[in-house]
């Protein structure tokens, strides 16, 4: 089939590229001790936090930006970025939230008002615009069960013991360049604590949106599931269209204690930039989960459709015996997007098992790289891993690359790896069209089929959203 036809079919317009005109409170660009103190002060943080930030900043100054990813981009000028932007009105309750912000969330399809429930299912939402959490819903109802769901800033003020205990415990502040930067300047994010034996009764969600010009977004998420608890958490992201690239460097830490389970789903739709990659978000994210206790389980599901550059490897450290780590990923690169993503499964405990299902879709000039590490420690008797990495190419200007790494100190470890690269074949497209299904629907049907194993891991409402997003990204309006 003609290449232009395909290109036309796959160049979806970015539908979330609107900008909201809200008054912003923003520090001048650049980083220094003063800027860090300013951020910490703005957030009314205790001194110990300010000191931790400064420590991270000084470590960062000594570190170098990593360049081992299969990514090409202009150098980032860290002094031209503004590290703090907040909507000027500091909201206390929903009534005080700037109606324009509410409108923005409406456009994103996110129910900020508690009575608006997604498909009849309760979803508690923490919404973060630029650097500040603007609204957390259902907080009180959750509190009754002892569940803490609040912005990380609130948590630092209200739950210092939990923060001191867990923050930096999974991703140390000097873990990598971007994690160190985040540790110094993180502006907001979400904190979740599920007490012993509690099953969180609703989906928890955070929506991140970069709105202000020339700002970076550095959110930090910390989720602790105490013994025997369960939580399903979802994050979504978007940003307006810009001419300049914006930096996003988040850190997510998960801790699952004995018999606890955390399900973490991401639908990432940061602005991808134009056909040359201009204006998109640079997304450098460190996500790591620690299966601390026996029989604990952490499951990462991600649908990555946005960003100009994605550098992201959600990982699991399987420390507890019999603990389970899972990674389900769909990464789409179209236009000139580049994604270098994958996972690390570190098996330390006995009989630990991990599953990796990665689906990469490349269209137009998109470049998709899977990078996965499975490491089996000396004491990880009976460890098992299954990895499957499939790439789907649409057109012939895009690329897919797979780099699986395996380190095994245990001869008994059982590791299976499968990888495939396929093209949407003319035969498949023709078959569907011969049955009266138009080309656009046929492409989307084949792509959804390819992603099925991952979508089936998402909570129902989000699976619907992910499919719609995928259609938008890959097809848009033909013509």
């Amino acid at each position: 089939m003609a290449q232009e036809e395909l290109d036309k079919a796959v160049s979806g317009e970015y539908a979330l590229g609107f900008e909201i005109d809200i008054e912003e409170d923003k520090v001048p660009p650049g980083l220094s001790d003063e800027v860090i103190r300013f951020i910490s002060k703005k957030k009314e943080e205790p001194d110990w936090m300010t000191e931790l930030r400064l420590k991270a900043y000084h470590k960062w100054l000594e570190m170098e930006e990593p360049h081992w990813g299969h990514l090409e981009y202009e150098p980032i000028d860290y002094q031209s970025i503004s590290y703090f932007a907040a909507p000027k009105k500091g909201p206390e309750s929903l009534d005080e939230v700037d109606p324009k912000i509410l409108e923005a969330y409406e456009k994103l399809g996110i129910p900020l008002e508690e009575q608006k429930q997604l498909a009849g299912v309760k979803v508690a939402v923490d919404a973060v615009v630029d650097s500040v959490s603007v609204k957390t819903t259902y907080q009180e109802e959750l509190m009754e069960k002892g569940i803490i769901f609040c912005s990380i800033s609130e948590a630092i003020r209200d739950y210092p013991e939990l923060i001191k205990k867990y923050m930096f415990s999974v991703v140390p502040m000097n873990d990598n360049y971007f994690a160190a930067l985040n540790s110094a300047v993180f502006t907001d994010g979400t904190f979740v604590y599920i007490p012993k034996g509690v099953r969180c009764p609703m989906e928890l969600s955070t929506y991140f949106r970069i709105n202000a010009l020339n700002t970076g977004q550095f959110e930090r998420t910390l989720i602790v599931a105490d013994e025997g608890s369960y939580v399903s958490y979802n994050e979504g992201c978007s940003a307006p269209m810009r001419d300049e690239n914006q930096l996003h460097a988040a850190v997510v830490e998960l801790i699952a204690h004995k018999d606890a389970e955390i399900k973490y789903s991401t639908i990432q739709n940061w602005y991808p930039g134009d056909e040359e990659g201009k204006g998109g978000i640079y997304n450098f994210v460190t996500k790591r989960g620690l299966c601390e206790g026996e029989n604990s389980k952490i499951s990462w599901t991600q649908v990555e459709t946005g960003s100009a550059i994605t550098w992201k490897y959600p990982s699991c450290i399987l420390k507890g015996d019999n603990s389970v780590g899972e990674f389900y990923s769909v990464a789409v690169t179209t236009l000139a997007q580049q994604a270098d993503t994958g996972t690390k499964m570190i098996h330390l405990g006995k009989n630990t098992s991990s599953t990796i299902i990665s689906k990469g879709i490349s269209a137009m000039k998109g470049q998709n790289t899977y990078r996965g590490l499975v490491k089996i420690g000396a004491n990880a008797e009976g460890a098992r891993n299954y990895s499957e990495c499939d790439s789907l190419l649409i057109g012939d200007q895009c690329g897919a690359h797979t780099f699986p790494y395996l380190e095994s100190k245990d001869a008994h470890g059982q590791v299976e790896h499968e990888a495939t690269t396929t093209k949407i074949s003319d035969e498949q497209l023709f078959y569907l069209r011969q049955r009266g299904i138009n080309e656009e629907d046929a492409v989307s049907m084949i792509v959804h089929g390819f992603c099925k194993e991952v979508f089936s891991q998402l909570p129902m409402e989000y699976a619907v959203e992910a499919k719609a997003l995928l259609n938008l990204t890959l097809e848009g309006s033909v013509g």
Binding site: M1, S425, D426, E427, Q428, F430, Y431, L432, R433, Q434, R435, G436, I437, N438, E439, D441, M445, I446, H448, G449, F450, C451, K452, E453
Partner: protein, 251 residues
């Protein structure tokens, strides 16, 4: 003589640089069953692809008129929506696409095209299940991925299932009988016979007389080296079986 549903005139078509159809003429009549026989590589599947608008086949000369309209420039889906159905010689596998979901999308695309209301999932499933049973297919086929891991015979039955759900006007069956066991051949033939209504036309490509015994064609055409070299009544089958295609050439 009945109305002509499709008229193919001096059709030249190539795949890549190679000319496969070399001035083919064929008329298909409304309500009739036409069988095409011919040696391997003669261009039978290529003809079915030319009629349905496959990307591989480039029509360089001639005309294909369907219900009076020239369709050579039509998109494949438009030909399908207007009632042309092809049962593929080798149905392709589409991983992860649920068989029922796919077929419901197809059925509803057609209903929409006809200005009818879409079938909801329950109505659709009721119909599909009944046909699955009638064709002797395993009920689990409904929710498997489209053709994925289907045996040869299962794929063919699935094609017939689609045909029966879509209710097309012109049905092309490319070697529907190859790879079918005896029971499957009977079930499939019965399915086809049930579709005969005096209006609907069939173009049955086959190498064997067995299926023709079941579905009783009105005409036999011999396709050889990119052309129809002979058209006759059903009595031609016996002659072909006896003498082979070589004898026909001289005829």
């Amino acid at each position: 003589m009945s109305n002509v549903v499709m008229e193919i005139e001096n059709l030249h078509a190539r795949i890549g640089a190679k000319e496969i159809l070399k001035g083919l003429n064929l008329q298909l009549e409304e309500g009739k069953v036409h069988a095409i026989m011919g040696p391997n590589g003669a261009g039978k599947s290529t003809l079915s692809k030319a009629i349905t608008g496959h990307y591989d086949v480039e029509v360089t000369e001639g005309a294909i008129r369907y219900k009076g309209q020239e369709i050579v420039d039509w998109e494949p889906e438009d030909r399908a929506l207007e009632g042309i159905f092809l049962s593929f010689q080798n149905p392709v596998e589409i991983p992860g696409v649920n068989n029922a979901y796919f077929l419901r999308t197809a059925v509803n695309a057609k209903r929409k095209h006809q200005g009818l209301e879409e079938l909801n999932a329950a109505e659709f499933l009721r119909e599909m299940k009944a046909l699955v049973q009638e064709l002797g297919m395993k009920p689990e086929m409904i929710n498997r991925s489209l053709n994925e891991g289907f045996s040869g015979g299962e794929k063919k039955r699935n094609e017939i299932l689609q045909m029966m759900m879509l209710q097309p006007d012109l049905i092309i069956l490319d070697e529907i009988d190859s790879g079918l066991d005896i029971d499957a051949l009977r079930a499939v033939s019965e399915g086809i016979n049930k579709m005969k209504d005096g209006k609907r036309s069939f173009l049955v490509i086959t190498h064997y007389s067995r299926i023709l015994d079941y579905i009783e064609p009105d005409y036999i055409h011999v396709l050889k080296d990119g052309k129809i070299i002979k058209t006759a009544g059903p009595e031609l089958v016996a002659e072909l079986e006896e003498k082979g295609y070589g004898a026909i050439e001289e005829a």
